[in-house]
């Protein structure tokens, strides 16, 4: 399907090698403001803070983390856009913010070209998950339940995922009651409490699946899930779109190359180092780092933005 994403995935490892070779002679001219688009204390926030901490102790750079949450990362993007681009202001969000969300909110006046992509840190392990106690062992069981007349509630945490859930139902000839909640944690809470029958989880399900409480029914990615490689992908289920996405660090547009390279390689190195605290939790939740940098990242963000319209179009029918 999306040729670019596949190429980008292939570039993950080579990209990683390439960036670590660049010597970091750049030093930030002042403290670096780190805008985090996730609520404090959650997994993503912890990841961002630990990366900042590791860089502070390794390179002596001073980070000032700050929460700028809401509107699917657009609040962070809007705040970051007007910051100075000398490397003293960066943000952490997800690639979806710069793709689907910016395309879906044309009035906000934000485009990927307003930003300088630094690096991704990890790809989501986006699965369609339900409680093990529901007795579903495969996605076919879900389809059978729906066709048997059961009204199924499908928890999603973003408009793009809602579109995907809708297309999944359409491809399988069933109707889901799609329930939007705030964040992957809320999907998991809803599923655990029985308010939702199934839903998207982007890595948060790893512990529950390992413990046997939760089941990965399908992979919403273009590739199988690391934890449950047997679960069908969305392509297998007849949906030609996927939820591939990454955590990403960005800066305002026009960041000088030395600052961009230094920041990107420093962050990517910490994320990929499984012995570091940040690398450790990335390994635990996402099965390892995925660091896309430089032009590949720029292209990835642009592609996400320009292809979003198609998904919206298909999902509105």
């Amino acid at each position: 399907m999306n040729r670019f994403v596949t190429a980008a995935l292939a570039a993950v490892f080579s990209g990683m090698m390439a960036v670590s070779a660049i010597a970091a002679d750049w030093t930030p001219p002042g403290p670096i403001k780190l805008m985090i688009a996730f609520r404090a204390g959650g997994g993503a926030d912890t990841q961002a803070r630990l990366i900042a901490e590791a860089l502070a102790s390794k390179l002596g750079w001073k980070f000032i983390p700050e929460q700028v949450t809401g509107k699917g990362g657009l609040n962070m993007a809007a705040a970051l856009k007007d910051q100075p681009n000398d490397g003293t202001a960066i943000g952490m969000g997800v690639t979806e913010t710069f793709g689907y969300n910016m395309a879906a909110a044309p009035n906000a006046g934000l485009k990927p070209s307003d930003f300088t992509g630094l690096t991704t840190t990890a790809g989501f392990q986006m699965g369609v998950v339900s409680l093990a106690s529901k007795g579903w062992n495969s996605f076919d069981d879900v389809v059978a339940a729906a066709k048997g007349g059961e009204q199924l509630r499908f928890g999603v945490m973003s408009p793009r995922l809602a579109d995907l859930a809708y297309l999944l139902g359409k491809a399988q000839g069933i109707d889901f009651n799609i329930v939007s909640v705030k964040g992957g944690k809320a999907v998991m809470d809803g599923v655990n409490a029985g308010d939702l029958d199934l839903g998207f989880m982007a890595g948060i399900q790893a512990k529950g699946v390992a413990a046997g409480d939760l089941v990965n029914l399908a992979s919403a990615l273009s590739t199988p899930l690391t934890q449950t490689p047997d679960a069908p992908t969305f392509a297998d289920l007849g949906v030609e779109y996927d939820s591939d996405g990454y955590f990403v660090f960005v800066g305002p547009a026009g960041m000088p190359a030395d600052a961009r390279d230094a920041l990107a390689s420093a962050i990517a190195e910490v994320a990929a180092d499984e012995a570091s605290k940040a690398g450790g939790i990335i390994k635990k939740a996402f099965g390892g780092a995925a660091t896309i940098t430089g032009d590949e990242l720029t292209a990835l963000l642009e592609a996400g933005y320009s292809s979003a319209g198609q998904l919206m179009e298909v999902a509105s029918q």
Partner: protein, 529 residues
């Protein structure tokens, strides 16, 4: 592995964890030290006007996690510290409410109603003793209930409440709050309406931040701390300063309040207070067990029930509720303190927090890993050890250690915070204001948050001036987002059924009660007297 084995393992996990140092040859585990440390910091933070437990937890959590790392061994020391802060802040929170009429948390607001009048009558230390005794009693009772009921009760409650019922329950909470607080349902509804409006600005599902006039300042909505601290604390500071200013203009001096009479808590006092503490403990525990309904409603209900009982039993000459009755302090403190234990029932068994303290416990568990709050926690396995259940019993043990500290040294330590009453108010209140604004800035790091807080302070001041209670505003602000979310989800989950609130029997009952409570209190407030 039966229940007893798990209890033993849980206790052992606390006492025999990694050793920090040894005292008289006995090893002292790091968990134990963290509980003590958390408890004492909790009291200091709770007793500091403008600060509250969640602030301390928010600041401490990243530090703790960095210190202890991401192994299951870190769970008990970190969560032990948080439990210590939670319990310490609960008793400590009564101090500024009683001494300075500045509640640090919404639930401490009801404590000001009688606690502060007691201070003005020179009974500050007695009020503190009553608050401490009631708080610890309620807390201990609640913990016992937690341990007995956790595995069963939460699953039962959750089993009967689906999304439509949860939506209806939130509506019922709001209309109840509007009707009972402040004695005027009309003003209560206005307060709720303003609180809801405030929380709906800049939020919402759509990418355009609604009601923001297109400004960037409003596009992220009002941070919760600005609304709560502005409406409750800043407005109280304004009001108090105004009174000091009038006093000064009228008499030329600002008179300090001297302590008079017996400050001790006698056995007779305890006997008189006991019925209030007992009722409120039960109320607080029951409310705490419901996910999402926090200590503020418990405090309000405890106080209201206490007041109606008091009206029936008091003799002429007894101090009225709201004028400095120790029973009022006891009813409130027992109720809000008994929420914290029971609140962990849905937290541990479903992973759903009912208050800010519980949120931080979940965050700690989630960040560290190895403990996944949810139905799996209470799976009693027969052949293998369920490590999460061991942690759960370790947490229960931590709670009882914190309670033991609370009964022994808590009261003394808390009253030593009362030294702050010697500070003249016209000096302390401005410092509280600066502390509050600084605390907000440290969290939000934007000047506009300070301006918001100031704005809420002015709104709260005018509300107080015309007799509108600020508390329903704050509760509505807290529950508003949850209400909208739950309603959206219920609507979507029922397949777009516009009558989802009325065609589920339990939801319908809640809705009827919501209307009834407004109608009933309005009619009652029209009656003379």
């Amino acid at each position: 592995m039966d229940t007893l084995d798990y209890i033993v393992l849980g206790i052992a996990a606390v006492f025999q964890g990694p050793e920090l140092f040894s005292l008289f040859g006995l090893p002292v585990s790091v968990t134990l030290v963290m509980i003590v440390f958390g408890f004492l910091s909790g009291i200091v933070v709770g007793a500091t006007p403008g600060l509250a437990g969640p602030v301390a937890m928010a600041i401490a959590l990243p530090i703790l996690i960095s210190t202890f790392g991401y192994t299951p061994d870190a769970l008990l020391p970190v969560m032990g510290f948080l439990i210590g802060v939670m319990k310490g802040a609960t008793v400590g929170g009564a101090v500024p409410a009683i001494l300075f009429n500045t509640p640090g948390t919404p639930d401490a607001f009801m404590t000001t109603l009688d606690g502060y009048p007691m201070t003005r009558k020179g009974q500050a230390r007695k009020a503190l003793r009553v608050a401490h005794f009631s708080s610890v009693s309620g807390d201990t009772f609640s913990d016992v209930v937690l341990i007995v009921c956790a595995p069963f009760l939460a699953l039962l409650v959750e089993g009967y409440l689906d999304l439509p019922e949860k939506t209806a329950l939130l509506i019922l909470s709001l209309s109840f709050i509007a009707a009972v607080i402040g004695g005027s349902p009309a003003k209560g509804l206005i307060s709720v309406g303003l609180g809801l409006l405030a929380v709906f600005i800049g939020t919402g599902e759509d990418f355009y931040p609604r009601l923001s006039f297109g400004t960037e300042e409003l596009s992220r909505g009002f941070p919760i701390a600005t609304a709560i601290l502005g409406i409750l604390i800043v407005s109280a500071v304004f009001k108090e300063l105004e009174e000091l200013w009038r006093e000064k203009r009228a008499s030329g001096v600002i008179a300090p309040v001297a302590e008079t009479g017996d400050q001790r808590l006698r056995f007779a006092d305890i006997r008189a207070l006991f019925p209030y503490i007992a009722r409120s403990s039960v109320i607080g525990t029951a409310i705490g067990a419901l996910p999402g309904i926090g200590s503020t409603l418990a405090a309000t209900l405890g106080y209201t029930v206490g007041r109606s009982r008091y009206e029936k039993t008091k003799t002429d000459g007894d101090t009225e509720f709201g004028k400095g009755a120790p029973e009022g302090v006891a009813a409130t403190e027992a109720a809000n303190s008994s929420v914290s234990g029971a609140n962990l029932i849905p937290v541990l068994s479903l992973g759903i927090p009912g208050n800010a303290a519980a949120v931080f416990l979940i965050l700690a568990a989630e960040s560290i890993g190895g403990f996944n709050p949810g139905p799996s926690v209470f799976r009693f396995t027969s052949d293998t050890v369920n490590p999460e259940l061991v942690i759960a019993f370790g947490l229960f043990t931590s709670m009882f250690i914190a309670n033991a500290l609370n009964w022994t040294v808590g009261g003394l330590f808390m009253r030593s915070m009362g030294v702050m009453i010697r500070v003249p108010k016209q000096i302390l209140l401005p410092i509280v204001l600066l502390l509050t604004l600084t605390a907000i800035y440290v969290q939000e790091t934007r000047m506009v948050a300070i301006w918001f807080t100031l704005g809420f302070g002015v709104v709260g001041y005018f509300m107080r001036s015309v007799g509108i209670s600020p508390l329903p505003f704050v509760i509505a602000f807290i529950l508003g987002g949850k209400l909208e979310e739950t309603a959206r989800q219920a609507f979507a989950a029922t397949g777009g059924d516009p009558f989802f609130l009325f065609n589920h029997p339990i939801a319908l009952v809640f809705m009827v009660l919501s209307a009834a409570v407004i109608v009933f209190t309005t009619r009652k407030s029209r009656e003379p007297g």
